[in-house]
């Protein structure tokens, strides 16, 4: 098993210019990103930058209330305004207009989710009417002139209250707020494990609702050509093909006459996966107006409508013996689903959560029950990590509590329960089979970097001086690279999760690669070009990558679940290898050799034993297109497409350690150190990997210390702007020390595991564990996130962590 260690302090991995890297070394090099010059000079093209001739602007009326009956909507004043092109409500549209849920569960209550609310409002982001006007401001002015007669209803926003008998019911026709009941694992075995274990430790944890906060608000421009019924949608999407498929049903437009294109996309973090009402409304508006229509959400609109993340209330119990052996884990979670079931929502608190509850540990028995609950908040769906941060938080918090309860060092308890590196693939009692791992290695490295042994002595001395420092660990596991279509189909997915990749030589020997993923900041153009250049042995600059356009390649599933490199990258590898195989036959023909005798290395075909009889792959490309002299059984041209469908997920892992100092008098938390040691398998571009870890950790620290969507008792979002919802600033995030080990994944040809979500999954519990450790002398065992100064102060003063 290859192991390579990279260490980096604040300065991080050093980059190199791609021009200075030999073709043979391009894979694995920390090259600069080719997307950056355009992003750095203002040349980038985000959706709202696109200005089509004769464009009109749309604005969407949202609800004043989180829960209400609609008695009437009067649009007459808006319609009468100068420069208003169109105003429409639910009664004006004659398409299905119902947003689908693409994941099913046995007990799932699927509910209608109309693109325009008809008679009932279920959350503040519900759309009531669309205005199309000549200019942006006029559209918003007109929205303000629409008069809605509401009958306000009581609202409910937290999942536990929503399960009370007297709670307001979000979907009246269902008669209950339970969206589903789901379980995994073996209840009887888990009961038995608890009966036999020396101890049982219980915790209650809240994983608060978060707003994803991509810096670019969602936007769409629809352009409709009546003469041939072609509809083009430029939009902020992480998965154009998925959007095309779903949208074609929602607005009843034939899929082959629909093009969805993602221009530059300014971050997503999950929030641009889902099919929202808005893109359908913009498409309908363009068809009605027969001219291009543009819409961009205001920030407040994104806060009211973007699918939020997390939202769990969990009680967990761990059965553990005196010697630290974990015997069993029992978990009961109420998961907030929001007002409707968003695109992949049912999968998030179930198959992306319950299946990860074994963490890095060998736990013989696990049982997990989850109730998905409708409430009057925006639909809750995937946000960076999606289910896996919630699982890791439960596991890593309860493992720390268990260590404290039995008086064992938390590192030792963890280590005691790791499976050995030779026990992989490792099956868990919650349906996963971990591909590969070496958990001691990342833990050792992280402890070494923070000088853990010395820390405990330092902590003792600090406490004597009245200073409170603490260390928090997070040994996380995640499943990503989503992944095997057959398996996800069995679990309820309404889609396959393969990925397609096309590799095409031009006659002059340059290469076009196209992938069905859709990057939005991850540097895919750079990494995919590294992958393809390496496979074909051509110059990195000779490879161009296309993504994010349903017209650019056959099909695709998009970017989420840290899947792009593992699944999309692998599709490109397979296509490149198919291209090489075909080129080998043509080269053999030209070299008058048997293909079996023709070797391929660094872009050159040569006859084994006679290296001077050789031909470059780029020359072969020309021959393939000239087709003057190619084998009879070979078609002209040189390209291949692969639909790569791996056999398993990939399972990155690592250890993150936070070291903090807490001032019990003010509740302030200062980072002394933050160390991240991750094993994401082979790394295509270590600088991009580092950036993903940094950004992921920042969002995890944000959850731990600052962020949370808050609603008042009427379901009104009170953190409705960036002045009220704390997106961490530069001064909030510590310098991190990142390091990695490399345990390649056996499930894909690149040996990569995926890195997009690792930091977000790992960080929150490292920070919370550190703060709880620091405040141990005050008897503090738990504080709810976000750990605001007030909550920390209260906890230190014996008022509990709940505010």
């Amino acid at each position: 098993m290859a192991t390579e260690e990279r260490r980096s302090g604040p300065d991080g991995v050093e980059t190199v210019d791609a021009d200075d890297v030999d073709a043979a070394d391009i894979l694995g090099s920390a090259i600069e990103r080719r997307e950056d010059p355009s992003l750095l000079t203002g040349d980038a093209e985000y959706t709202d930058d696109i200005q089509l001739p004769d464009s009109a602007h749309a604005a969407i009326l949202r609800s004043q209330y989180a829960h209400a009956r609609i008695e009437g909507i009067d649009t007459s004043e808006a319609e009468a305004m100068d420069d208003v092109v169109d105003v429409f409500t639910a009664e004006d549209i004659d398409v299905p207009g119902n947003l689908p849920t693409a994941w099913d569960l046995d007990t799932l209550r699927t509910v209608d989710h109309p693109v325009l609310a008809e008679d009932r409002i279920r959350y503040q982001g519900d759309a009531l009417a669309v205005v199309v006007a000549e200019e942006r401001y006029q559209a918003h002015d007109a929205v303000d002139r629409i008069d809605v007669d509401y009958d306000r209803l009581e609202a409910v926003t937290d999942p536990e209250t929503a399960l009370d008998d007297d709670a307001p019911v979000v979907h009246e026709e269902e008669g209950t707020n339970t969206a589903f009941d789901w379980e995994i694992g073996d209840a009887d075995e888990t009961d038995a494990a608890f009966a036999e274990a020396d101890h049982a430790v219980g915790i209650d944890v809240t994983n608060q609702l978060l707003i994803p906060n991509a810096m670019e608000p969602r936007a769409a421009i629809a352009d409709y050509d009546d003469s041939d019924d072609e509809l083009t949608l430029h939009m902020t999407t992480q998965n154009p093909h998925v959007h095309r498929l779903l949208l074609s049903g929602v607005i009843d437009h034939p899929e082959h006459k629909l093009r969805v294109r993602a221009p530059d996309v300014g971050g997503g973090f999950g929030s641009k996966i889902h099919h929202y009402a808005d893109e359908a409304l913009v498409a309908l508006a363009a068809k009605r107006a027969e001219r291009p229509v543009k819409w961009q959400a205001t920030r407040t609109e994104t806060y009211l409508t973007d699918a939020q993340g997390r939202g769990h209330e969990t009680h967990a119990e761990l059965a553990v013996d005196d010697d630290g052996t974990i015997r069993g884990l029992r978990v009961d979670t109420a998961a907030n689903m929001g007002a409707y079931l968003s695109t992949f929502a049912p999968a998030v608190p179930t198959y992306l959560y319950g299946t990860l509850l074994s963490g890095q540990y060998d736990i013989p028995a696990i049982h997990c029950e989850v109730s998905g609950v409708f409430t009057n908040v925006p639909p809750v769906d995937a946000y960076r990590g999606a289910g896996r941060p919630e699982a890791s938080f439960v596991v890593e918090r309860i493992v720390k509590e268990a260590a404290d309860a039995i008086g064992m060092d938390p590192t030792e308890l963890r280590r005691h329960n790791f499976p050995d590196p030779d026990e992989f693939p490792h099956a868990t009692p919650v349906a996963m089979e971990y591909d590969s791992g070496d958990y001691d290695k990342t833990l050792d490295r992280a402890l070494d970097l923070v000088d853990y042994d010395e820390f405990r002595e330092r902590q003792e001395r600090a406490r004597e001086e009245g200073r409170y420092i603490g260390v928090g660990l997070s040994c996380y596991i995640e499943a990503c690279g989503l992944a095997p279509s057959e398996l996800v189909g069995e679990l309820g997915a309404g889609a396959g999760l393969w990925e397609s990749g096309l590799v095409r030589f031009t006659p002059s020997g340059t290469v076009k690669a196209a992938v069905g993923t859709s990057g939005h900041g991850q540097g895919h153009d750079t990494t995919y070009a590294q992958v393809v250049a390496n496979e074909l042995g051509v110059d990195y600059d000779d490879v161009d990558v296309d993504e994010g356009d349903t017209d650019a390649l056959p099909q695709g599933m998009g970017t989420y679940g840290s899947r792009s490199a593992a699944v999309g990258g692998s599709a490109l590898v397979q296509s490149a290898r198919k291209v090489v195989d075909k080129a080998r036959k043509i080269a053999a023909h030209q070299l008058e050799a048997d293909p079996i005798d023709v070797e391929f290395e660094d872009g050159e075909f040569y006859v084994a034993g006679a290296p001077d009889r050789s031909m470059g792959v780029q020359d072969v490309a020309l021959e393939a297109y000239l087709a003057h002299d190619i084998p009879d059984d070979i078609e002209p041209g040189l390209e291949a497409t692969t639909f790569f469908d791996p056999d398993n997920f990939v399972f990155p892992f690592g250890t993150h350690v936070a070291v903090v100092e807490v001032d019990p008098d003010t509740g302030e938390i200062e980072f002394e150190d933050y160390v991240a040691v991750d094993d994401v398998g082979n790394q295509i571009n270590p600088k991009i990997v580092e950036g993903q870890i940094h950004g992921g950790v920042a969002q995890g620290v944000g959850q731990a210390l600052y962020e949370g969507a808050e609603y008042d008792e009427n379901g009104q979002l009170v953190t409705g702007s960036m002045q009220d919802y704390t997106v961490p600033k530069a001064e909030h995030i510590p310098d991190m020390e990142t390091d990695s080990t490399t345990t390649p994944s056996p499930v894909n040809p690149l040996g990569v595991k995926g890195v997009g979500e690792a930091g977000t999954i790992a960080a929150p519990q490292a920070v919370v564990n550190a703060v709880v450790d620091a405040l141990e002398p005050f008897g503090v065992e738990d504080i709810d996130m976000p750990l605001t100064n007030e909550r920390v102060w209260r906890a230190a003063h014996g008022n509990g962590g709940d505010s």
Partner: protein, 198 residues
């Protein structure tokens, strides 16, 4: 959200404060951004019509007005009043079409409930007021409970609290100065006439 407070007014009597705070005209003038405040019948309120028919100039209030006239137009228990209130909140200035019902009115206690709606925001509120005699005047103890909805609510308490404080502060400043006029202007035996009303 909840607000409450106590405003102390020196050199005035309970009766004077009660009368002043019972006068819809004075309340209208004291409320910042209030375009009109008139009694209305049960049923839907046509704010456009009320705005059109609102007098350009208000009738006189204390001390110019006669206490008897004020008693005549004073709030009554069960009375329903409509007001148009323009309030600047952050970058927006919604005009709230507001309907208030005086639920309880018994000297020295008043309780009112109401709701207001603007294009993209609305509120529901109940408020109460008690007068308490002090050594050198009267304390007005007041409280309000409000639910805010829509665009204004999204701005959060960070924005709403200062606005509420500003409205309440200006209101009582204005009330205080008008009542002070009553107590200093005793030329016509106004104080006696006011106290004689109760």
């Amino acid at each position: 959200m909840e607000f409450d407070g106590t405003v102390s007014i020196e050199g005035v009597t309970m009766d004077e404060v009660w009368l002043a705070l019972s006068d819809p005209v004075m309340i209208k003038q004291a409320l910042p951004g209030c375009q009109f405040l008139v009694e209305v019948e049960e049923g839907d309120v046509d704010f456009d019509a009320l705005a059109a028919s609102a007098p350009d100039e208000d009738p006189p209030t204390l001390p110019e007005a006669s206490p008897e006239d004020i008693a005549e137009r004073a709030f009554v228990e069960g009375g329903r009043y409509a007001a148009l209130m323009e309030i600047s909140v952050g970058s927006v200035s919604p005009s709230f079409e507001t309907v208030v019902t005086i639920e309880e009115r018994e000297f020295p206690h008043m309780y009112a409930g109401g709701e207001g709606s603007a294009s993209n925001s609305s509120f529901e509120m109940s408020s109460w007021m008690d007068l308490v005699e002090t050594e050198d005047g009267v304390d007005v103890e007041w409280g309000a409970e409000a639910d805010v909805f829509g665009r204004v609510a999204q701005m959060g308490q960070r924005v709403i609290n200062p606005v509420a404080n500003r409205v309440v502060g200006r209101f009582f400043d204005s009330v205080e100065s008008q009542i002070s006029d009553v107590s200093t202007d005793d030329s016509s035996g106004l104080r006696d006439r006011v106290s004689g009303l109760f």
